[in-house]
Symmetry: C2
Subunit: 133 residues, 2 copies
DNA sequence: CTCCGGTTTGACAATCGTTCTCAACTGATC
DNA sequence: GATCAGTTGAGAACGATTGTCAAACCGGAG
Protein backbone atom coordinates (compact mmCIF):
# COMPACT_ATOMS: atom_id res chain seq x y z
CA UNK A 1 0.00 0.00 0.00
CA UNK A 2 1.09 3.52 -0.63
CA UNK A 3 -0.54 4.28 2.66
CA UNK A 4 2.10 6.14 4.65
CA UNK A 5 2.16 9.54 3.02
CA UNK A 6 2.36 11.59 6.20
CA UNK A 7 2.14 14.99 4.55
CA UNK A 8 5.74 15.90 3.76
CA UNK A 9 7.18 18.71 5.88
CA UNK A 10 6.92 22.27 4.64
CA UNK A 11 10.02 24.44 4.82
CA UNK A 12 9.70 28.13 5.53
CA UNK A 13 11.91 29.28 2.72
CA UNK A 14 12.61 32.85 1.69
CA UNK A 15 10.36 32.48 -1.33
CA UNK A 16 7.43 31.07 0.59
CA UNK A 17 7.72 33.79 3.18
CA UNK A 18 7.82 36.41 0.46
CA UNK A 19 4.63 35.13 -1.16
CA UNK A 20 2.74 34.90 2.11
CA UNK A 21 3.97 38.37 2.99
CA UNK A 22 2.90 39.75 -0.39
CA UNK A 23 -0.56 38.27 0.06
CA UNK A 24 -1.10 40.51 3.05
CA UNK A 25 -0.39 43.63 1.01
CA UNK A 26 -3.64 43.73 -0.92
CA UNK A 27 -7.26 42.94 -0.23
CA UNK A 28 -8.68 42.09 -3.62
CA UNK A 29 -8.25 39.03 -5.80
CA UNK A 30 -5.09 38.88 -7.93
CA UNK A 31 -3.71 36.44 -10.46
CA UNK A 32 -0.56 34.44 -9.87
CA UNK A 33 1.20 36.54 -12.47
CA UNK A 34 0.12 39.78 -10.82
CA UNK A 35 1.51 38.49 -7.56
CA UNK A 36 4.72 37.42 -9.21
CA UNK A 37 5.10 40.89 -10.64
CA UNK A 38 4.30 42.47 -7.30
CA UNK A 39 7.04 40.41 -5.70
CA UNK A 40 9.49 41.63 -8.30
CA UNK A 41 8.63 45.25 -7.63
CA UNK A 42 9.21 44.70 -3.95
CA UNK A 43 12.64 43.31 -4.67
CA UNK A 44 11.68 39.76 -3.73
CA UNK A 45 12.95 37.75 -6.65
CA UNK A 46 10.82 34.58 -6.84
CA UNK A 47 10.41 32.31 -9.84
CA UNK A 48 6.98 32.27 -11.46
CA UNK A 49 6.68 28.51 -11.10
CA UNK A 50 7.37 28.85 -7.41
CA UNK A 51 4.65 31.46 -7.06
CA UNK A 52 2.21 29.08 -8.69
CA UNK A 53 3.35 26.21 -6.49
CA UNK A 54 3.15 28.26 -3.33
CA UNK A 55 -0.28 29.63 -4.09
CA UNK A 56 -1.50 26.09 -4.67
CA UNK A 57 -0.16 24.99 -1.34
CA UNK A 58 -1.72 27.95 0.41
CA UNK A 59 -5.03 27.29 -1.28
CA UNK A 60 -4.99 23.63 -0.28
CA UNK A 61 -4.19 24.68 3.26
CA UNK A 62 -7.16 27.02 3.15
CA UNK A 63 -5.03 30.07 3.79
CA UNK A 64 -6.06 31.80 0.59
CA UNK A 65 -9.26 31.77 -1.40
CA UNK A 66 -9.24 31.00 -5.11
CA UNK A 67 -11.74 32.29 -7.60
CA UNK A 68 -11.96 32.02 -11.37
CA UNK A 69 -12.39 35.04 -13.59
CA UNK A 70 -14.92 34.82 -16.35
CA UNK A 71 -12.02 33.84 -18.61
CA UNK A 72 -11.01 30.98 -16.37
CA UNK A 73 -7.93 32.57 -14.86
CA UNK A 74 -7.31 31.73 -11.20
CA UNK A 75 -7.18 34.66 -8.81
CA UNK A 76 -6.12 34.57 -5.16
CA UNK A 77 -6.73 36.46 -1.96
CA UNK A 78 -5.74 35.93 1.67
CA UNK A 79 -8.73 35.03 3.79
CA UNK A 80 -10.02 33.98 7.15
CA UNK A 81 -10.05 30.26 7.71
CA UNK A 82 -13.71 29.72 8.41
CA UNK A 83 -16.23 29.04 5.68
CA UNK A 84 -17.44 32.19 3.97
CA UNK A 85 -18.26 33.78 0.64
CA UNK A 86 -17.38 37.01 -1.13
CA UNK A 87 -19.10 40.18 -2.16
CA UNK A 88 -16.89 41.54 -4.93
CA UNK A 89 -16.99 44.91 -6.70
CA UNK A 90 -17.07 44.30 -10.43
CA UNK A 91 -15.38 47.60 -11.03
CA UNK A 92 -12.54 47.91 -8.51
CA UNK A 93 -12.38 44.44 -7.01
CA UNK A 94 -13.01 45.59 -3.44
CA UNK A 95 -14.02 42.46 -1.56
CA UNK A 96 -16.01 41.80 1.58
CA UNK A 97 -16.16 38.40 3.21
CA UNK A 98 -19.73 37.48 4.01
CA UNK A 99 -21.34 34.56 5.79
CA UNK A 100 -24.54 33.51 7.36
CA UNK A 101 -26.55 30.44 8.24
CA UNK A 102 -29.29 31.19 5.72
CA UNK A 103 -27.52 29.98 2.57
CA UNK A 104 -25.77 27.20 4.41
CA UNK A 105 -29.13 25.88 5.53
CA UNK A 106 -30.72 26.41 2.16
CA UNK A 107 -28.08 24.54 0.17
CA UNK A 108 -28.11 21.69 2.63
CA UNK A 109 -31.86 21.32 2.48
CA UNK A 110 -31.99 21.55 -1.30
CA UNK A 111 -29.34 18.85 -1.57
CA UNK A 112 -31.11 16.63 0.94
CA UNK A 113 -34.36 17.10 -0.91
CA UNK A 114 -32.75 15.51 -3.96
CA UNK A 115 -30.88 12.87 -2.04
CA UNK A 116 -27.43 14.31 -2.65
CA UNK A 117 -24.82 13.65 0.04
CA UNK A 118 -21.44 15.12 0.98
CA UNK A 119 -22.64 18.53 -0.02
CA UNK A 120 -20.44 21.53 -0.65
CA UNK A 121 -21.04 24.71 -2.57
CA UNK A 122 -19.60 27.82 -4.10
CA UNK A 123 -21.26 31.20 -3.96
CA UNK A 124 -19.98 34.62 -4.96
CA UNK A 125 -21.85 37.88 -5.11
CA UNK A 126 -20.92 40.65 -7.53
CA UNK A 127 -21.95 44.28 -7.58
CA UNK A 128 -20.78 47.86 -7.66
CA UNK A 129 -19.32 49.05 -4.38
CA UNK A 130 -20.29 52.38 -2.81
CA UNK A 131 -17.02 53.98 -3.90
CA UNK A 132 -17.53 53.02 -7.54
CA UNK A 133 -21.24 53.77 -7.66
CA UNK B 1 -20.60 57.11 -32.88
CA UNK B 2 -20.30 53.44 -33.50
CA UNK B 3 -23.87 53.34 -32.27
CA UNK B 4 -25.70 51.36 -34.93
CA UNK B 5 -24.58 47.82 -34.20
CA UNK B 6 -28.03 46.23 -34.38
CA UNK B 7 -26.94 42.74 -33.45
CA UNK B 8 -25.86 41.16 -36.74
CA UNK B 9 -28.25 38.52 -38.06
CA UNK B 10 -27.75 34.90 -37.09
CA UNK B 11 -27.98 32.30 -39.79
CA UNK B 12 -29.32 28.86 -38.97
CA UNK B 13 -26.57 26.90 -40.62
CA UNK B 14 -26.11 23.16 -40.63
CA UNK B 15 -23.32 23.45 -38.05
CA UNK B 16 -25.28 25.62 -35.68
CA UNK B 17 -28.27 23.34 -35.87
CA UNK B 18 -26.05 20.34 -35.20
CA UNK B 19 -24.59 21.88 -32.06
CA UNK B 20 -27.96 22.93 -30.68
CA UNK B 21 -29.28 19.48 -31.47
CA UNK B 22 -26.34 17.81 -29.76
CA UNK B 23 -26.89 19.89 -26.67
CA UNK B 24 -30.26 18.26 -26.22
CA UNK B 25 -28.74 14.79 -26.17
CA UNK B 26 -27.19 14.95 -22.71
CA UNK B 27 -28.12 16.43 -19.36
CA UNK B 28 -24.81 16.99 -17.64
CA UNK B 29 -22.11 19.57 -18.24
CA UNK B 30 -19.65 18.86 -21.06
CA UNK B 31 -16.61 20.61 -22.44
CA UNK B 32 -16.51 22.12 -25.91
CA UNK B 33 -14.13 19.38 -26.96
CA UNK B 34 -16.43 16.64 -25.64
CA UNK B 35 -19.25 18.16 -27.64
CA UNK B 36 -17.08 18.41 -30.71
CA UNK B 37 -16.24 14.74 -30.38
CA UNK B 38 -19.87 13.85 -29.81
CA UNK B 39 -20.78 15.63 -33.03
CA UNK B 40 -18.17 13.64 -34.87
CA UNK B 41 -19.56 10.36 -33.60
CA UNK B 42 -23.02 11.35 -34.74
CA UNK B 43 -21.69 12.03 -38.19
CA UNK B 44 -22.10 15.77 -37.91
CA UNK B 45 -18.77 17.08 -39.06
CA UNK B 46 -18.25 20.49 -37.43
CA UNK B 47 -14.97 22.31 -36.97
CA UNK B 48 -13.74 22.68 -33.41
CA UNK B 49 -13.48 26.43 -33.73
CA UNK B 50 -17.07 26.56 -34.86
CA UNK B 51 -18.16 24.54 -31.86
CA UNK B 52 -16.43 27.03 -29.59
CA UNK B 53 -17.95 29.97 -31.42
CA UNK B 54 -21.43 28.50 -31.36
CA UNK B 55 -21.31 27.63 -27.70
CA UNK B 56 -20.26 31.19 -26.95
CA UNK B 57 -23.19 32.56 -28.89
CA UNK B 58 -25.57 30.20 -27.14
CA UNK B 59 -24.17 31.14 -23.76
CA UNK B 60 -24.52 34.85 -24.49
CA UNK B 61 -28.06 34.23 -25.59
CA UNK B 62 -28.68 32.45 -22.30
CA UNK B 63 -29.59 29.21 -24.01
CA UNK B 64 -26.89 27.20 -22.32
CA UNK B 65 -25.27 27.46 -18.91
CA UNK B 66 -21.54 27.65 -18.55
CA UNK B 67 -19.57 26.42 -15.56
CA UNK B 68 -15.87 26.16 -14.88
CA UNK B 69 -14.27 22.97 -13.72
CA UNK B 70 -11.81 23.18 -10.88
CA UNK B 71 -9.12 23.30 -13.54
CA UNK B 72 -10.69 26.26 -15.26
CA UNK B 73 -12.10 24.43 -18.25
CA UNK B 74 -15.47 25.69 -19.50
CA UNK B 75 -18.31 23.16 -19.53
CA UNK B 76 -21.73 23.64 -21.07
CA UNK B 77 -25.26 22.39 -20.64
CA UNK B 78 -28.61 23.29 -22.13
CA UNK B 79 -30.85 24.98 -19.60
CA UNK B 80 -34.10 26.69 -18.94
CA UNK B 81 -34.05 30.41 -19.52
CA UNK B 82 -35.04 31.63 -16.10
CA UNK B 83 -32.55 32.30 -13.34
CA UNK B 84 -31.52 29.15 -11.50
CA UNK B 85 -28.60 27.28 -10.00
CA UNK B 86 -27.27 23.73 -10.18
CA UNK B 87 -26.95 20.77 -7.92
CA UNK B 88 -24.23 18.68 -9.52
CA UNK B 89 -23.02 15.16 -8.73
CA UNK B 90 -19.29 15.24 -8.23
CA UNK B 91 -19.04 11.65 -9.36
CA UNK B 92 -21.26 11.27 -12.43
CA UNK B 93 -22.18 14.83 -13.28
CA UNK B 94 -25.92 14.32 -12.93
CA UNK B 95 -27.37 17.81 -12.65
CA UNK B 96 -30.55 19.21 -11.19
CA UNK B 97 -31.61 22.80 -11.74
CA UNK B 98 -32.65 24.38 -8.49
CA UNK B 99 -34.07 27.73 -7.55
CA UNK B 100 -35.83 29.48 -4.77
CA UNK B 101 -36.43 32.91 -3.31
CA UNK B 102 -34.37 32.26 -0.20
CA UNK B 103 -30.91 32.72 -1.72
CA UNK B 104 -32.08 35.44 -4.04
CA UNK B 105 -33.33 37.41 -1.07
CA UNK B 106 -30.27 36.67 1.01
CA UNK B 107 -27.75 37.78 -1.58
CA UNK B 108 -29.72 40.93 -2.28
CA UNK B 109 -29.91 41.85 1.38
CA UNK B 110 -26.27 41.11 2.03
CA UNK B 111 -25.27 43.30 -0.89
CA UNK B 112 -27.55 46.11 0.17
CA UNK B 113 -26.17 45.89 3.68
CA UNK B 114 -22.75 46.77 2.28
CA UNK B 115 -24.00 49.35 -0.17
CA UNK B 116 -23.29 47.29 -3.29
CA UNK B 117 -25.53 47.93 -6.29
CA UNK B 118 -26.31 46.06 -9.50
CA UNK B 119 -26.02 42.79 -7.72
CA UNK B 120 -25.64 39.42 -9.39
CA UNK B 121 -24.34 36.12 -8.11
CA UNK B 122 -23.18 32.65 -8.90
CA UNK B 123 -24.02 29.61 -6.80
CA UNK B 124 -23.42 25.95 -7.46
CA UNK B 125 -23.99 23.03 -5.15
CA UNK B 126 -21.95 19.84 -5.36
CA UNK B 127 -22.59 16.47 -3.81
CA UNK B 128 -22.95 12.76 -4.45
CA UNK B 129 -26.21 11.82 -6.13
CA UNK B 130 -28.38 8.93 -4.92
CA UNK B 131 -27.22 6.71 -7.76
CA UNK B 132 -23.55 7.20 -6.92
CA UNK B 133 -23.95 7.05 -3.16
C1' DC C 1 -31.11 31.90 -62.50
C1' DT C 2 -27.07 34.75 -61.54
C1' DC C 3 -24.59 37.97 -59.20
C1' DC C 4 -23.04 40.31 -55.00
C1' DG C 5 -21.71 41.46 -50.42
C1' DG C 6 -21.84 40.03 -45.99
C1' DT C 7 -21.73 35.74 -42.99
C1' DT C 8 -19.78 31.49 -41.70
C1' DT C 9 -16.50 27.92 -41.74
C1' DG C 10 -12.36 25.23 -40.83
C1' DA C 11 -7.48 24.07 -41.03
C1' DC C 12 -3.85 25.87 -38.77
C1' DA C 13 -1.16 29.19 -36.30
C1' DA C 14 -0.84 31.79 -32.27
C1' DT C 15 -2.01 32.94 -27.29
C1' DC C 16 -1.47 32.39 -22.74
C1' DG C 17 -2.20 30.57 -18.17
C1' DT C 18 -0.39 26.76 -15.92
C1' DT C 19 2.34 22.63 -15.21
C1' DC C 20 6.38 19.77 -15.97
C1' DT C 21 11.37 18.70 -16.11
C1' DC C 22 15.49 18.35 -13.99
C1' DA C 23 19.91 19.92 -12.58
C1' DA C 24 21.52 23.00 -9.07
C1' DC C 25 20.59 24.57 -4.38
C1' DT C 26 19.13 24.68 0.72
C1' DG C 27 18.61 23.56 5.31
C1' DA C 28 18.00 20.64 8.79
C1' DT C 29 20.43 16.80 11.10
C1' DC C 30 24.10 14.08 12.72
C1' DG D 1 31.19 18.96 6.26
C1' DA D 2 28.60 14.91 4.67
C1' DT D 3 23.94 13.52 3.79
C1' DC D 4 19.53 13.74 1.78
C1' DA D 5 14.79 15.02 1.11
C1' DG D 6 12.52 19.19 0.13
C1' DT D 7 12.92 23.46 -3.05
C1' DT D 8 13.85 26.39 -6.69
C1' DG D 9 13.98 28.42 -11.39
C1' DA D 10 14.77 28.58 -16.39
C1' DG D 11 12.81 26.95 -19.99
C1' DA D 12 10.19 23.38 -22.41
C1' DA D 13 5.78 21.42 -22.70
C1' DC D 14 0.78 21.45 -22.37
C1' DG D 15 -3.88 22.24 -23.35
C1' DA D 16 -7.84 25.03 -23.73
C1' DT D 17 -9.23 28.81 -26.29
C1' DT D 18 -8.89 32.40 -29.77
C1' DG D 19 -7.19 34.55 -34.00
C1' DT D 20 -6.29 34.32 -39.11
C1' DC D 21 -7.91 34.36 -43.56
C1' DA D 22 -9.03 32.28 -47.85
C1' DA D 23 -12.70 29.47 -49.51
C1' DA D 24 -17.61 28.08 -49.14
C1' DC D 25 -22.25 29.67 -48.31
C1' DC D 26 -26.60 32.33 -48.18
C1' DG D 27 -30.36 35.17 -49.18
C1' DG D 28 -31.98 38.74 -51.64
C1' DA D 29 -31.66 42.02 -55.69
C1' DG D 30 -31.82 42.32 -60.50
ZN1 LIG E 1 -15.56 49.36 -6.45
ZN1 LIG F 1 -21.38 28.74 2.29
ZN1 LIG G 1 -23.84 10.61 -9.51
ZN1 LIG H 1 -29.76 32.93 -7.83
Amino acid sequence: MTSTDPTPPLRPTRQRRAVVEAMTSFADFRSAQDIHELLGERGDQVGLATVYRTLQRLAEAGEVDVLRTEEGEAIYRRCSESHHHHLVCRSCGATVEVEGPTVERWTRSIAAEHGYAEVSHTLEIFGTCPACA
